[in-house]
């Protein structure tokens, strides 16, 4: 594609859709202008140092913006299966748009899971209060692009004091062109939920640019587990911006798994907005062939006595590349915050490349903060331990590499573990390229 031509083509935004609330239309229009006015991000900050922003430009913006958002039948005519591992399953697909199936018992608790566009009309006050307030149009050029063009997405609302035992699964299947999708989740006070946000290509979509924006709001004392899996097809380009905000005594555990895509860029962050808030993040990236991963994390401590911890693991094989940049920001006049960050990179062969950049913006003295990074091949001592028990070299390498990410995989919901182990095993078994 001719990037210069794309940049110079500034189309005027479409007219309002008859189903679209005016505030949403205005937000989109404003975002479109922001997108067009904003220059490409300069590659001087760590967030943009490792990946070309041109990857995420769209070629057919006008076509996308004129695709009217659809509101399909939510049930698809089938009752929710009784023995499902999930309390609700949502699908974003290019052809069938957004579809949601929810366990009637969960729906009976007042939980809402629906098409975001539909929610913008039907739950207007609620959506309007939160929507686009963290991943806002002015967040960045590509976040503005998402806001202008999104036509697929979910809205999740969990009322106060509601425990949802089984995870909610969101299956995102972007098409082979350009997809702009969103998630807005509002979790009430003292409530508990697990969200699985799973990006994979539907069979025929081998390529495409997938731009996603995720906003999660956790009320005071809410407990949220958020699992973000990027398993896009080998030609796909992924761009995900995710923010969570947790309140007083709120707790979030975010797990990021990335094994797919040609170029995969994610900006993931939690804002610890209340006292005694706790945020943990775990990451597992496994890159092979020519895959390129660029993951950024943010822990932003805004109140006192909050705790954050990051354990980010990367395995690289063949000619794969990973850049991990992690920002910890602790506001001034706060006390007794704790923030920990660890990034470990296992390089299975020469020719792989890993970067690890911790960034600390600590504006107060009363704080406990550590960070560490390692990168290198498999520890020869570990290899010897396995070989001394009769295990062959290749097998020992596979066991140690799979073991390296296993503790993180164990933190994922049951039904995802075998899938993730399978991906890891397949990648390890693949002949070195």
């Amino acid at each position: 594609m001719n990037l210069t031509a794309i940049e110079n083509k500034v189309a005027s935004f479409r007219t309002i859709d008859k189903l679209e609330p005016e505030w949403l239309y205005n937000l989109r229009k404003e975002s479109w202008e922001f997108y067009n006015d904003a220059p490409l991000p300069e590659r001087v900050t760590n967030v943009w140092r490792y990946t070309k922003p041109e990857n995420f430009l769209v070629a057919n913006a006008e076509e996308i913006m004129n695709t009217a958002p659809l509101i399909p039948d939510g049930s698809n005519g089938h009752p929710y299966p009784k023995n499902s591992e999930y309390s609700a399953v949502g699908y974003n697909r290019e052809d069938m748009m957004t579809m949601v199936k929810i366990d009637p018992a969960v729906a009976g608790q007042g939980v809402i899971i629906k098409n975001l566009f539909q929610a913008a009309r039907e739950n207007e006050d609620l959506v309007r209060q939160y929507f686009g307030t963290m991943v806002a149009p002015n967040f960045g050029k590509f976040e503005a692009l998402n806001m202008a063009l999104w036509n697929n997405g979910f809205f999740i609302f969990v009322p106060d004091n509601t425990v949802i035992e089984k995870p909610i699964a969101l299956n995102r299947h972007p098409g082979d062109n350009f997809s702009h999708i969103r998630l807005l989740a509002v979790i009430g006070r003292n409530s508990q939920v697990t969200l699985v946000d799973n990006y994979s290509c539907s069979g025929r979509a081998e390529s495409g640019v997938d731009n996603s924006a995720v906003e999660i709001f956790g009320g005071d004392s809410a407990r949220v587990k958020y699992v973000n899996l990027q398993r896009l097809g080998p030609q796909c380009i992924g761009y995900i911006t995710q923010r969570a905000r947790i309140g007083r005594s709120g707790n979030i555990y975010s797990i990021y798994g990335a094994t797919g895509g040609a170029v995969s860029k994610m900006n993931a962050g939690t804002i610890l907005a209340g006292r005694h808030a706790e945020s943990r993040m775990s990451g597992v990236i496994f890159g092979d062939k020519n895959q390129h991963f660029d993951y950024h994390t943010l822990h932003h401590h805004q109140d006192n006595e909050s705790y954050s911890n990051i354990d980010f693991k990367v395995i690289l094989k063949d000619k794969a590349m990973s850049a991990y940049t992690g920002l910890i920001r602790i506001e001034k006049d706060t006390i007794n915050n704790e923030a920990y960050q660890e990034n470990r990179n296992l390089l299975l062969n020469k020719g792989t490349k890993a970067e690890s950049i911790p960034e600390l913006e600590i504006l107060t003295d009363q704080v406990r903060c550590t960070h560490g990074a390692t990168m290198g091949p498999i520890d020869p001592q570990m290899l010897f331990y396995l070989k001394a028990r009769g295990i062959g070299h290749e097998e020992a390498v596979k066991m140690i590499a799979a073991g390296f990410v296993e503790p993180t995989i164990m933190q994922m919901p049951n039904e995802l573990r075998e899938m993730m182990r399978g991906i890891v095993t397949d990648k390890l078994a693949g002949e070195q390229k």
Partner: protein, 255 residues
């Protein structure tokens, strides 16, 4: 080549460019228990690590045979498959690999990938955990990850018990054990040590030899075996310390 179950001759070992074992020979016959005792830095751990095929310990000279098979030409995996076992002095944690899965993989590898050998695995593992007074939940814990010193050594002996080697080299298995753990680990060695093979204990102290009675005791100093004898040699060392022998052998005290 000797017809003994395990033998090595004139072994020299170099670590980081420095020769730490300087021509050590030993023959272990079927059912024999040998102990090598020596002060810290005498080269005894280097010797057994080198024999097991540790990549940092290079055997630069010498021969070694297990059941008549030439050990020197084998890598660590092949040595283990030939029946050699090393109980590590400092067992490493392998995160993400459970004790049970590790043992399954090792037993399978030893039998050329044959899964049928795992038929009674569960029960055997449970029985051996029980004998070694290890909680059976350790089966699903990651190897040595967060284990205490005693637990690590018990798991080493458990591995020996499950893998049933022909020759076991135990590298300071008594170090870091309290009295109770020492008794349990020693009982484990007596129960599970190769009965028709050979056992070589490497230790600094005599105390373990109160439980595991060796047939032969050898003293190692400055990379060489300087004395060999029966169990009484260990008691003599306990009373007199290593210095006296050092004086006699090297005829001067190094300063």
């Amino acid at each position: 080549m000797s017809d003994k179950v395990f033998s090595f001759k004139n072994i020299h070992v170099v670590v980081e460019g420095k020769e730490v074992v300087k021509g050590v020979s030993l023959e272990i016959g079927q059912g024999e228990k040998h102990a090598i005792m020596g002060p810290n830095g005498s080269g005894k751990s280097s010797l057994v690590n080198a024999l097991a095929g540790h990549p940092s310990y290079a055997i630069t000279e010498g021969e070694a045979y297990i059941s008549g098979k030439n050990l020197i030409e084998m890598d660590a995996t092949e040595r283990a498959k030939a029946g050699l076992f090393l109980a590590f002095q400092y067992p490493l944690a392998i995160p993400g690999v459970t004790v049970a899965n590790f043992l399954r993989a090792a037993i399978k590898a030893k039998h050329g990938g044959d899964e049928t050998v795992l038929k009674d695995f569960r029960k055997e593992l449970t029985d051996k955990f029980s004998f070694l007074e290890v909680d059976k939940t350790f089966a699903t814990r990651y190897i040595n990850d967060g284990f205490s010193g005693g637990e690590k050594k018990k798991i080493e002996i458990l591995q020996m018990a499950m893998l049933k080697p022909l020759v076991a080299l135990l590298d300071e298995t008594d170090s870091g054990l309290d009295i109770d753990a020492l008794r349990i680990v020693s009982n484990g060695i007596n129960e599970y040590a190769p009965s028709d093979g050979g056992l070589l204990l490497v230790t600094h102290y005599q105390r373990m030899l109160n439980y595991v009675k060796p047939d032969y005791v050898h003293v190692m100093m400055h990379g060489q075996l300087v004395r060999s004898g029966g169990p009484e040699l260990a008691l003599q060392l306990e009373e007199q310390g290593y210095e006296k022998i050092e004086d006699e052998v090297f005829n001067s005290v190094e300063v």
